[in-house]
Amino acid sequence: MAQAAQNKTRGRKLLGASALLSVLAGLYFGLIEAPPDAYQGNAQRIMYLHIPSILTAYLSFFIVFIGSCLFLWKREKRDDILASSAAEIGVLFTALTILEGSIWGKPTWGVWWTWDARLTLTAILLLIFIGYLMLRSLIEDETRAAVCSAVLGIIGFLDIPLIHMSVYWWRTLHQPPSILRPDKMPWENIHPSMLIALAVNFAAFILLYFYLLSLRFHVGEMEEEAKTRKLYRGSL
């Protein structure tokens, strides 16, 4: 048992180190190497943060979905810890995504918040995440909290495509697509070094995300073990 825990922590340290390295590389490419954008000037550099963090937000919601399905099927505490860890980190990344989006919006559109499709969707995702964490904290009985959170995780995930469709239809109704809109996928006609910067930042965010997830998951497992030990200390 100790050996498995050993190389798990070593694996985590390795993941952490590589995450740190790729983040630094991302910063270097994003801030120094890549040229400023023709229209938006330097503000466009926020894109190297914004696009990857949107991905991690949706990735964490997918992991919550997977954890929830596994938990409802096999009822193992481990899957529930995975779902709650992914949700906690998901909230952080989603909130940061919205922050980046609005900071990026100020120079490009002159307003801190626009009902742009992508920003709205991330905001809705954040609301579902907050509902998930609130639900988990407001139910006393743990198994009931785990089951109910799993249900919200699954229903929330099934709802994402419907939310996407309705928000995009709603958006095209109100604001015809314009050139400056940042949610035009930026890699059509883009400078190669910008592409590298985006790719490196993608890697950085993914590695960082899984590092934080594995750390939070480990903490969750330890807390669970501490609880069961306290429980069994009394009787057996």
């Binding site: 609880k227 429980l231 009787s235």
Partner: protein, 238 residues
């Protein structure tokens, strides 16, 4: 109805409501469940009636585990607790009609009225349950059993609300059921009733089973173990 309990335990947060217990309840047994408040009696009843999920272990009723989803075998379980399990806004008859149909039991209105008469609630047939006293609600619970004929009965302190004739009604019903192979588990504090009615006694303390013996005539071991929980000067403790 044979009930096997293997390694059953239930914990809430950091507290053990019921510690590891192994038990076999044979058909025809009328078992008394005793113990101070908070000893885990209600938890054990909840687990036996498959309404609570155990932390470890399982409850097998006729070899089947019932706490996951609905199964036909659940119609054999009967539960009677002070809360009554009845819809306040419905009349006595409507309550019985509803539970009959949900259990898939086809009973004519006459049979329902008959059951109400046998439990002495004939006059209140059209009254709302909210108008009933808790003793009458308990009698209605027995009336429900007369129609649904469960084989495995779980009672939580019925004596607290029943009057003299109610107790006779309940005990005659339980005796008949045990003779016909049913199993009864009754959580109560009334030692005097147990000595006449039950064939076996279980005593729980802080979630642990500390006494499990069938009834013999002198039964000193039962009095010794249970004496500690009786109020001072109770005639049974001497």
């Amino acid at each position: 109805m044979r009930i096997v309990i293997r390694g059953l335990s239930k914990s809430y947060g950091l507290v053990w409501a019921l510690k590891q217990t192994d038990l076999v309840l044979e058909p025809g047994e009328c078992i008394a469940l005793l113990g101070p408040n908070g000893a885990g009696k209600s938890t054990l009843l909840g687990l036996l009636s498959a309404l609570l999920h155990p932390t470890t272990g399982e409850v097998l009723i006729d070899g089947q585990r019932l706490d996951q989803g609905s199964s036909p075998l659940r119609s054999a379980i009967g539960l009677l607790t002070p809360s009554g399990h009845l819809y306040e806004g419905l009349t006595l008859r409507e309550n019985l009609h509803l539970f009959n149909s949900l259990y898939g039991v086809k009973k004519s209105p006459q049979e329902i009225d008959e059951a109400l008469d046998t439990v002495g609630l004939g006059r209140w047939r059209e009254e709302y349950v909210s108008a009933l006293s808790s003793g009458m609600k308990c009698r209605l619970g027995i009336g429900k059993w007369l129609l649904l004929q469960p084989q495995f009965l779980l009672l939580d302190e019925p004596y607290g609300v029943l009057d003299g004739s109610g107790v006779d009604l309940l005990e005659s019903y339980l005796k008949r059921l045990c003779r016909s192979g049913g199993t009864v588990v009754m959580a109560t504090h009334h030692v005097s009733r147990i000595l006449t009615l039950c064939s076996r006694a279980l005593i729980l303390r802080r979630g642990e089973l500390i006494f499990d013996e069938p009834r013999q005539q002198p039964w000193e071991s039962f009095h010794r173990t249970f004496a500690e929980f009786l109020p001072r000067g109770d005639q049974w403790s001497s």
